[in-house]
Symmetry: C2
Subunit: 275 residues, 2 copies
């Protein structure tokens, strides 16, 4: 694949299996207000976290193919499952820089943990991949990392039961093996989980710091753009985001506003298969 | 599309978004032990119940295309969401008889309800389609039908929390508006729900009869085969089922055995997109 130097005023491609990655877009829009973003949510095939590595890789490459047609200058996998399973493949095939959410999350966990005991929660696929353990232990191999999959959290968030008694009970069950290990830091390793921060914090107690990789990822995007000479100078005009979903835009807008923190307008439907 | 008369000893194609339809295969294998079945579970794109009608129709047609290549003599949509949204399209495009699970379930509900007050639970897409109401009221328009989506039931079943306290609480919340309507019959309008029968029955109480369409669907398949002159005579040798999944066969086998009620062997992986 030939490497063409991207244009500095090209958009940045961001994608997720669905609406969760909008928490990353939110941080990006706030940190880099003059950059343009193109966001793709693969709502026709969501969730990814229960699927096999090969299937997740195939879907990620199809979305990346769509983003490349829009001449993006960088691709951000704003999905923990994709970041855990498909970074090598994406970096191999894409002619632009590719960032995920796991390395930024790992760096933030390392900075936060005083007693060097970190918990990680995520989808089945993310936890099984051990991607967070590896990323954290690459930075510091003396850190103990404990992880637990939380498959009911995504459906609970999508059902809107953010403060429901059931959600608290589910959180208590999922977190108990991690709390028994005396973790002092907990990585929210799925972009849906920040919406459960209050209930997770209540269950985990005040001694556990929650790490949401959205802000860290936005910082990593900025420094990579700088390194690549692709960061727009601050004097330029305001950017913004365009949104695409592979299933019904109305549902994407309805669910998505909770993650973005503001109303979503102008979502366009696309077909990703065979791109 | 030209109509070629299918062979009597051709297999019957059965499909679902994932493993849930194996409850229908179980009833079919028991009622029609000498027929051959081909089962497809679209585990790479599961679930369907949260997706839009157009997307569900597209997926159903892709699977039907795969089944036709195996020269099936009939297609059974063993998925409530597909049966609710895609029957017209499937019947229009397929040159063989197509059966769903909703009409058999509606007939069984009608037969069971003494006070003519029927509840229906299912996925968001199934409930929104009003397919059960329409099917029941086509048979008898004096029956009152009340319905409620239960989006957390499928993830709870897949998590294996069949008898968990959380599942009972979720069931109590989902069923309460239906119980307030004094239903005496409750249609389990999703092939995952039969695994929750004990907890649903406990919440609904002994005065509510639960309807699982798997057995009724098997009976409907037999009578349609008879009508079509395609039912194998009982003297012939034993049939059985072949299984295909669009994602990891290992996970399909692991989850699937709970639905089939016995071990699953020889699952083959297929790619459905663009079939």
């Amino acid at each position: 694949m030939k490497t063409v130097r991207p244009e500095i005023d090209a958009p940045i491609g961001v994608f997720d299996s669905g609406v969760g990655g909008l928490t990353v877009i939110r941080s990006l829009l706030s940190l880099l207000p003059n950059e343009k973003f193109i966001y793709v949510g693969d709502t026709a095939r969501v969730p990814y976290g229960t699927k096999s590595p090969e299937t997740v890789r195939r879907y990620a490459l199809e979305i990346a193919g769509f983003l490349l047609k829009s001449q993006v200058k960088m691709v951000v996998a704003a999905c923990n499952t994709v970041s855990a399973l498909a970074m090598d493949k994406l970096r191999l095939f894409l002619p632009v820089s590719v960032l995920g959410v796991i390395e930024p999350g790992a760096r933030a966990a390392l900075a936060a943990s005083k007693h060097r005991r970190v918990g990680v929660i995520g989808t089945e696929a993310t936890v099984r991949s051990r991607a967070y353990q590896q990323a954290i232990n690459r930075l510091d191999d003396s850190i103990k990392v404990f992880s637990s999959p939380c498959p009911l959290f995504v459906p609970l968030v999508e059902e809107g039961w953010l403060g429901h008694a059931v959600t608290k009970q589910v959180a208590a069950q999922y977190l108990s093996p991690l709390l028994a290990k005396k973790i002092d830091t907990l990585v929210l390793g799925c972009t849906h989980y920040p919406l459960l921060k209050p209930v997770i914090q209540r269950v985990a107690g005040p001694g556990v710091e929650l790490i949401d990789s959205a802000d860290e990822t936005a910082k990593a995007v900025r420094s990579r753009l700088e390194q690549d000479g692709l960061l727009l100078p601050p004097s330029r005009k305001r950017g913004g985001a365009e949104f695409f979903s592979s299933d019904d835009p109305a549902k994407f807008m309805f669910l998505g506003q909770k993650f973005l923190g503001s109303a979503l307008r102008g979502v366009e439907r696309i077909q990703l298969e065979g791109v």
